[in-house]
Amino acid sequence: MNTELIGIIVTFGITLTIAIALGRYMAKMYAGEKVWTDFMKPVENLLFKLGGINPSEHMNWKQFLKAMMTINILWLVYGFFLLIYQDKLPLNPDGNPGMTADLSFNTIISFVANCNLQDYSGETGATYFAQHFIFMFLHFTSAATGMACAIAVFKAFRDKTTTDLGSFWNYFVKSITRVLLPISVVIALILAFNGTPSSYAGKDKFISLQGDTVTMSRGPAAQMIAIKHLGTNGGGWFGANSAHPLENPNYLTNVVEITSQFIIPVGMVIALGFFVRRKKLGLIIFGVMMTGVLMLMIPTIIGEVGGNPEIAKMGITQSTGSMEGKELRFGPAATAYWSTLTTVTSTGSVNGMHDSMMPLSGCWELLAMMINGFFGGDGVGFLNYYIYLIIAVFISGLMVGRTPEFMGHKVEAREVKIAAFITLLSPFLIKAGTALACYIFYTYPNADWAVKPSAWLNNPGFHGFSEILYQYTSSNANNGSGFEGLADNNIFWNVSAGVVIFFGRFLPMIGPIAISGLLAQKKFIPESAGTLRTDTVTFGVMTFAVILILNALSYFPALALGPLAEYFSMLKH
């Protein structure tokens, strides 16, 4: 076996080991048991005191959501204005300009929502101030928001009958002080000592060996790249994201970065089993999700390692696989591995360009984001999966003729309606957005925008359609990766994608918390012979089938028009 394949297998092993340990730790920590990070308590108490917060406040689901939404809206306002005026603020050694209103609208929603779709390029579009005080700040807080919401749902599962989901502030602050910040320090140090810049020095100018004058962007990137992965954010310092040699200098940093973006999503599922004290349930959910991940990952790796058939026809040797848009120090196998994990989670950072990957790889990336529940983003991934669980409980209840129940509570019309609404929301946002963009592309090709619609696409034919579909899929899933050929910095894309990101973020968080709050208020029914058990392999298979059927019904036609059509036309040649 070659070193590229061994590399990703070892990476996968490291990731699982860390994720399981982290999951057990998080379960204890959020439950308030003794853990080794208790030395952070004084810091937390100081934060609570200065923030004027009582961390042991009881919140019902409505209060919890109000607290969560209030602080998120505050960040939207804060960032929107600062981005427009970033050129007048300090820490701008490269003299980058302020953002236009529509770009700022898109960017701030994108970062508050943990999406980090970037219609600007970091080197020329953002100041060091914006990168740290807005983007990096939101990297931490958006991830902590998602984690806090997941813990509230876990608590509703654990307590038999309750209206108390715990304090949003408590979970939120602890997510930062006990998980995100300490691990980020470790990652940032590893990056800094492997060559990622960490100082505030501006661009450097030099004459290259051959005699060309070159300016090179840099800046305190290591700090931001650490949390960008750990927080499943993905918004990079440089335009090329983690393909950039300063963001991701070598294979070791590549292992660190890809590992850090997967440990919290996996750890959350492990934490669920321990926190709720139902390890088997955690294990079954883990099994379903991991099966999904592997089913997306293995074909992607095979496809990329196989190389581009069109280039093979020219007689070129692709000994390691398809190299367009990839970096030599990672190779096609590690790039394919990364592309799957970055799309199943909501990270969306890239170490190679997705636009240039094989048609079917693009299909698996799209599908991973459409499903958005195989581990998913920090915290929110489980919330998405929870919606699938409720639908699966409901359908299997109907199939066997029993009242659907989950965790000892009857699932009734109101909860199923919310779940159905959230399930329908994603295909609506993705397909309505894509349809609108296609309509404008064909009807008004010469509209007078910063970029004319006729110049939006970087590739002709089916792949061009995939670029549009990818943009909305990534926005809805709060992923943030892109088929970056799309010329997206203009008012149409900034506004339409911004709206999709906003609804694609907050409704799928509000829905599951409402459902779990409503369920937890109900009378607890002890398990009996008549209960449909949700911690069995059978129910796991059922959930998997529900996920597949729902997504196939929603998205197969769109995928057929884009990547699948491209794949078959490639075969035909």
């Binding site: 934060l47 505050l74 005080f133 960490s198 060996l209 060309d212 300016t215 398809s322 120090r329 002709p460």
Partner: protein, 189 residues
Amino acid sequence: MKKYIVPSIRLTLVLIVLLCVIYPLFIAFAGKLSTGKGDGEPIIVNGKTVGYALVGQNFSKPQYFWGRPSAVGYNANGSGGSNKAPTNPDYLKDVEKRIDTLLKYHPYLKRSDIPADLVTASGSGLDPDISPDAAKIQIKRVALYRKLDEQKIADLVNSHIEAPLFGFMGPAKVNVLKLNVALDELQKH
């Protein structure tokens, strides 16, 4: 909602101090201890910075080893890939042109000798590395233009091959800038 506005503002302000001032400054100070002092690792020849080891630069002159094609022309002010689809006809023509250029400068090569990384653009446009095969096929041309012994250059290339991480993870590679700096050095002696 009113109840939560004041705590939101206050908590945001204290978190900004923790996350945007204390944390990055701590890393920046620790980074001062790294090889490049946190500014990137420059390569210095005769007291002048000629580049950064991690950031690829353009080599088009025939007496140097060439790096990979770049969609941004190795302009490190920005970065990016071509974002061309694998089926895009214009892109495939570009690849064909790159093959022709390579064959023109290396008439001794067969098409099947050309490794894919020399005819495809990298993701960042700043890829500092090429594969060992890509370096090896250029030895004869470099030797010809520099009027140096082929074996000497082959030895130089071999000594610049960086093994996979721990010997078993990821690809082997050659840093083009380091190789070319050593090449200039070799010619001097």
